[in-house]
Symmetry: C2
Subunit: 335 residues, 2 copies
């Protein structure tokens, strides 16, 4: 099931992502490929995944990115299935599993960007799946590999394992307590990069932060994953402690704030994308802490409230003001 | 029925009040009376209203103000049945009709302060009622009256007719459009005093304004009432026009704002007295304009959300924080 529908709202960890970057031996990196080389690379990988000999054949569908509407591309970006870069690339393609958990971007920065994305914290399981799919592809495709450097990639920051392991965390209490920047800089010193999911710069809406390994070389995949897991677990504890402390010292103020956000979601007639994240984050912490009892899938509503998803549900392009109305309606009906 | 339960939320005029100030011939004004004189004055008026010969006898109850708890006195002030001044006075008393529409304060600034208070705009009817009650009292009590000045009162601003006619108006659109101070100063030039009902200085919560005649002498009661009625009707038109114009130019923003207030009333866990007024005013305009369909009596909820009413419903004195919680609960249950 696609990550945001897994209904793991009661977890501090919203989702786990494993990404492997691979290139094809004997072919240049996509940015310097000509059209013919791109076609060849795409068909090579496509055949490896959905060709007659592949054990994955029945699980994946192939999509030519340039054949998709802008709205559909944007919607895939909002679901983290493709990157904004792929949407822009000439000759880009996507192999995607029917259950939505696995996707392979072709001709993005690297020839192959294999991604496993799942709800909750499941780094080991996601890594195992990625490793298996990688093995299937490798049966038919010779990867660009160097015995000293490991897997070769377009950008040296991915060279080595080609592995980027990421965990998306919902950290409202650390944000409320003003401790999030301390957490981010501590993680940075330990080799973990952190970025807010929504919003730009230091301003993040929805209190969602993505933690991922900075270094891909010099450690094994298992070491990279264990280190990230270790740090994530520490941050989970810290968030939990902070929630308890807020509950103890400002419980009534917190309860009031969270219920007000629920009331706004339930009745407002215009809600911007950034406000939706903030309100949904409040309801999510309320649900986590047993304050607000709702069956709504809040992570899913965060994705559904993104601009292209709103436009898709309306079946047409909308102005920003029209989207705000449509978004408020969707949230009212689903919260 | 007591004014705020009349459910006239769909009117711009919330309530009408007629007040007559009278004193007793041969007795000084209350502020210079001794205890014995006060007792005599009280029993004279009490007998006139509920004595054996009075046609009003079965309609009124007598209450010694000093026998009431502070909470109860405060609650009567919040319902505009007595004034804050009466609550403080030694020897003060109250005659109140069973239906809550008529009250007579004894030994306030003047010996007799007769008040008729009703929901909606009904200056003529309220004046007729006041005039009848006044006549009944006058059958047994000789009023302090001067052929040149008219009825004599403790403060010269009431001398003459002793009449203060007041109308409470809900003017959210004029406030939103930034035109309320213009309305207030225009009314002032026409001899009409205006004050915000809740809040101090120029800051008024709940957009409720009381309009009343400044001058009590030199005009007949009918002239005073007709002038006030005329000005009130002009302001009603102005408020209606402004509502239409806001609806036309900013209808969606307005709708969103009003529904958000409804959502806050429906879900918040702590609401201050002033915020309650603001939110209820929003829902009231929403109900008036056909945007929000609610059976709740919003004027009643404004009174019920006042501090002493909250304490009374809890049956004990509460801290401000406790009241905010209790108020939010009461509003959630009744909105």
């Amino acid at each position: 099931m696609i990550w945001y529908k897994e209904q793991i709202d009661d977890d501090i960890v919203v989702s786990t992502r494993i990404r492997l970057a691979r290139n094809i031996s004997g072919l240049p990196f996509p940015r310097v490929m000509n059209a013919e080389q791109k076609q060849k690379a795409v068909s090579t990988v496509r055949d490896a995944v959905i060709g007659g000999n592949s054990t994955l054949a029945s699980m994946f569908d192939f999509t030519d990115i340039n054949a998709l509407s802008d709205m559909h591309k944007q919607s895939l970006i909002e679901e983290h299935i493709i990157s904004p870069e792929l949407a822009e690339k000439e000759g880009g393609a996507l192999l995607r599993s029917n259950d939505g958990t696995m996707s392979i971007m072709l001709m993005e920065e690297d020839c192959i960007r294999l991604q496993i994305i799942r709800g909750g914290l499941c780094l080991d399981e996601a890594w195992e799946t990625a490793d298996k799919v990688d093995d299937v592809i490798e049966e038919s495709v010779e990867y660009a590999f160097d015995s000293e450097f490991g897997y070769l990639t377009s950008c040296p920051t991915n060279t080595g394992t080609g592995l980027r392991a990421s965990v998306m965390m919902h950290l409202p209490a650390l944000v409320m307590a003003g401790n999030i920047s301390k957490v981010i800089s501590s993680a940075g010193r330990l080799g973990i990069a952190v970025r807010g999911l929504y919003g730009e710069g230091s301003k993040s809406y929805g209190n969602l932060y993505q933690f991922s390994n900075q270094v891909t070389m010099g450690n094994s995949e298992k070491e990279i994953i264990d280190k990230l897991k270790n740090i994530v677990n520490q941050i989970v504890s810290l968030e939990k402690q902070t929630r308890e402390s807020i509950k103890k010292n400002n419980g009534e103020e917190l309860e009031d704030k969270l219920w007000r956000s629920y009331g706004t979601l339930k009745f407002a007639r215009k809600i911007s994308s950034s406000e939706a994240k903030t309100l949904l984050s409040d309801v999510m912490i309320g649900k986590n802490m047993g304050i607000i009892n709702t069956g709504a899938s809040l992570t899913e509503l965060m994705v559904m409230s993104e601009p292209a998803h709103i436009a898709e549900s309306a079946g047409k392009q909308l102005t920003s003001a029209e989207r705000d109305k449509k978004r408020a309606q969707m949230l009212r009906e689903n919260i």
